[in-house]
Amino acid sequence: MSDAKENLQELSKTWHSPTGWGWFTVVNHTNIGLRYIGTSLIFFFLAGILGLLIRTQLIVPENDFIGNDFYNQIFSMHGITMMFLFAIPIVEGFGVYMVPYMIGTRDLSFPRLSAFSYYVFLIGGFVLWLSMLLDSAPDAGWFNYVPLSLKEFSPGKRIDVYATVITFIEISALAAAVELIVTIFKQKAPGMSLGKMPPFVWSILVMAFMIVFAMPTIIVGSIMLTLDRLLGTGFFDSGVGGDALLWQHLFWWFGHPEVYIIFLPAAGIISTIIPVFCGRPLYGYTAVVLSIVATGVISFGLWVHHMFTTGLPIQADAFFAAASGLIALPSGIQVFSWIATMWGGKPRLNTAFLFSLGFIFMFVLGGLTGIMVASVPFDRQVHDSYFVVAHFHYVLIGGAVFPFFAGLYYWWPKMTGRLLSEKLGQWNFWLTFIGFNVAFFPMHFLGFLGMPRRIYSYPSDLNWDLMNLISTIGSYILGIGFFLFVVNIIYSRKHGQRATNNPWNASTLEWSVSSPAPGYNFSPLPAVRSLDPLWDKDFGVQPAAVGLRTDRREVLVTSVIEGKPQGVIGIPHPTIWPFILALVCGMGFIGIIFNLWWFVFAFFAASVAMTGWFWPKYNWRKEKR
């Protein structure tokens, strides 16, 4: 008995994450995942403040609260921050944090890579916001269309900041994606075949593959843009044989899947939460998984629906319009599964469930306007109008932010050991739900009234005044609603109810360990034989995987499809090198805005950092260090 206790103590020591200055050396997925989620939430609130500034400027016609130049930076930074610094990082954060728990392993396959990707994201985001303080924030929109973003029409550093920082941040997304794919394929608990993998893990897997296929085009695109701006290569300059439309193809090849990169994990969260609070397994698991995969594939065939007004041949438009309508089917199937789960179970309402329900209403509404804009003739009217602003906020806030908040309420006890307040949670939900609809529903009408996007003001004789006023009031309510989440976090730190291992009576593996979980996650490693292991009568008395060493970080490797144990690998300990490499890469990327020699410097400095990163500490074959 004491032997087992000693083993646990040693295991804790081995998996302990350094504190203090050691903060920069931490590689454990729990810490990195939480940092991802926390940092992206900070960016969410910053970008939200920009959104409120936009709405305040538009509250009355001919308002001069914000000048045109600053307004352009604000709406660009709102989009860039929400998409690149909030939405992608938070789904990666959920993935990095949750996946090892849900598949029953101790850490991700390449812990140093996840640390590196976090620091890259942090540095990129920091530099972008610093540029705002220095009046050099990007001002050509998050879509950054050429030729407006070429040197001729955007002199100065603003667009250089966009192009290099976007490239830089997407490297972080790619690193996290590779990490998640390998972990999901090779480290599932014994017995967890692909068919027994939780739907959330499926959604993260598909998301990661989508990142791998989508991000390279935006990286290539923004590198080409950087070259056009710094060296005059002329890829996008029609005057010298380039093509302005090429940027739009590259951007939307990434930009459309991006929406589903955000949406799929959000839907995965819903597929996790609804069964738990209905007290039954998810209805139609196979259909849901197939829908997730189908969405991932079809989403790469839609990008031209952002370009229906660019004058592409009508046959091309027709193909992409059909594909855009088609993608509603897998989304619909998921909605039907959730509804069937509720009909077949006993739903109990709480904040997480409320956010899930709010999600269903708003996502369906946004999805329906999505089918409308997939229709070419209709899109030619509403494209780039406030109708589209309404549509994608319904899909992104309703379809993604609400599920994220549902997930935060649901997993908060596991993350922090305390439950969030239900009472504040209900206020949080209702104010956000009402505020959101008051803010964004009137925008549909503004679109019909001919109000284009990205304008900083409008004359008063166009019948736009009332709807803009209502929308702005709604945005303030929405702001208060989201702020209550912060209040709830602060409140629950002290006063939150302490969480047991499994406060919701949930079925997935993360709830089998203490809240918060120990650094080593599981001991012994669980083995599973159903989709909802914790609801198996004999969970815990089933055979589990034992025999991993306690004096170094080891994880079990299993086969991709069936989850059969194959071997054990050691994974690395905390180290400072990922941080240094991220710092050096940051210098290189940001530096070339000012002087190309920074690239040369960073190239060699990165080699040094990588050498440090891969330096063998000791011989793994030896028994003891």
Partner: protein
């Protein structure tokens, strides 16, 4: 049919053009289907909370689930196939245009062509078209991307460097319709508007003839002085007045300035007060406007305004 709240000089529900009317019909179809779907899904989402713990057996769930999928497929196919019926040939093969609209920073140059494709005249920020007649537009730009959009008449089309687009306007109701740039184009994307004047054929022909005239000679000595100021204050470095100064076409053609409804790309009404204010301080009217403000002696300024007012 029209919602009162959805009316306005720039509303796509105004139905003034053939294309806009088709889209409005399409919209009501899409809305009815969507409203039905939203209602059903919402209902089915809420009902379980009122079942009081009654659990529906798995087999029935399966039936409902399959029914949902079948209905979705049918509706989606109907929408996809159905909307193709509404597809218009707005984008045509490269053919002759009646009018070319060039997106500028941040205003619209409008070029009228004759049957042979020769330039008849150039004007700015105001397009006249005859009623009930298909007018072919070529949309181009020599700078960044803009998008030509007159919601009351029909869908938009982008102006992309090196890729001219074509658009047919067909108006059914007389009137003046506001259009606005729909693709973000920089600092003054906001106030880059224009107007389309839909008028009867004979009125349109009169307007065409009048626009082809060169500018009237200054009639008074004050106007003559103003014309001199136009040259000396370097207005002529950007603006053309046909028959008087044709050195440059950077800014809008001013030959028949006073025949237009609005100034500064649809931003302010065209009258003496606004004209004076615009010339004295363009940035005050439209921040970041590329036209420089003029520092003139007050008698020179008065003369210049007087001369410009004579450009009918």
């Amino acid at each position: 049919m029209a919602l009162v709240g959805c009316q306005g000089p720039q509303s796509m529900m105004s139905n003034a053009g053939a294309d806009a009317e088709r889209v409005v019909t399409l919209w009501w179809l899409l809305l009815s289907v969507s409203a039905f779907v939203f209602f059903i899904v919402s209902l089915f989402t809420i009902i379980p909370f009122f079942l009081k713990g009654k659990v529906v057996p798995e087999a029935n769930l399966g039936k409902g689930f399959m029914a949902g999928i079948v209905v979705t497929v049918v509706i989606l196919l109907a929408i996809i196939v159905g909307t193709f019926q509404f597809s218009t040939t707005l984008v045509m093969a490269n053919e002759k245009a009646d009018i070319e609209v060039v997106g500028k920073l941040w205003w619209w140059e409008v070029i009228y062509y004759d049957e042979e494709g020769q330039v008849l005249f150039k004007t700015a920020n105001e397009i006249h078209i005859p009623i009930d007649k298909k007018v072919r537009l070529r949309l181009t730009t020599d700078n960044v991307i803009h998008s030509f959009w007159v919601p009351s008449l029909g869908g938009k089309a982008d102006m992309i460097p090196g890729r001219p687009n074509y658009l047919t306007l067909e108006a059914q109701t007389e009137g003046i319709y506001r259009g606005q740039c729909a693709e973000y184009c920089g600092l003054q994307h906001t106030f880059m508007a224009f107007h389309v004047v839909v008028e009867p054929e004979d009125q349109y022909q009169d307007w065409l003839l009048a626009q082809q005239e060169t500018a009237p000679r200054p009639q008074t000595s004050l106007a003559e002085h103003g014309a001199k100021v136009f040259i000396e204050a370097k207005c002529m470095n950007c603006h053309t007045i046909r028959g008087f100064s044709e050195k440059s076409e950077i800014g809008p053609d001013l030959t028949h300035l006073m025949s237009r409804q609005m100034l500064a790309s649809g931003t302010i009404p065209n009258n003496k007060g606004h004209l004076s204010g615009w010339i004295a301080d363009p940035e005050g009217v439209k921040p970041s406007a590329l036209m420089p403000g003029l520092r003139l002696k007050s008698e020179d300024f008065k003369a210049l305004i007087h001369y410009l007012e004579s450009l009918k």
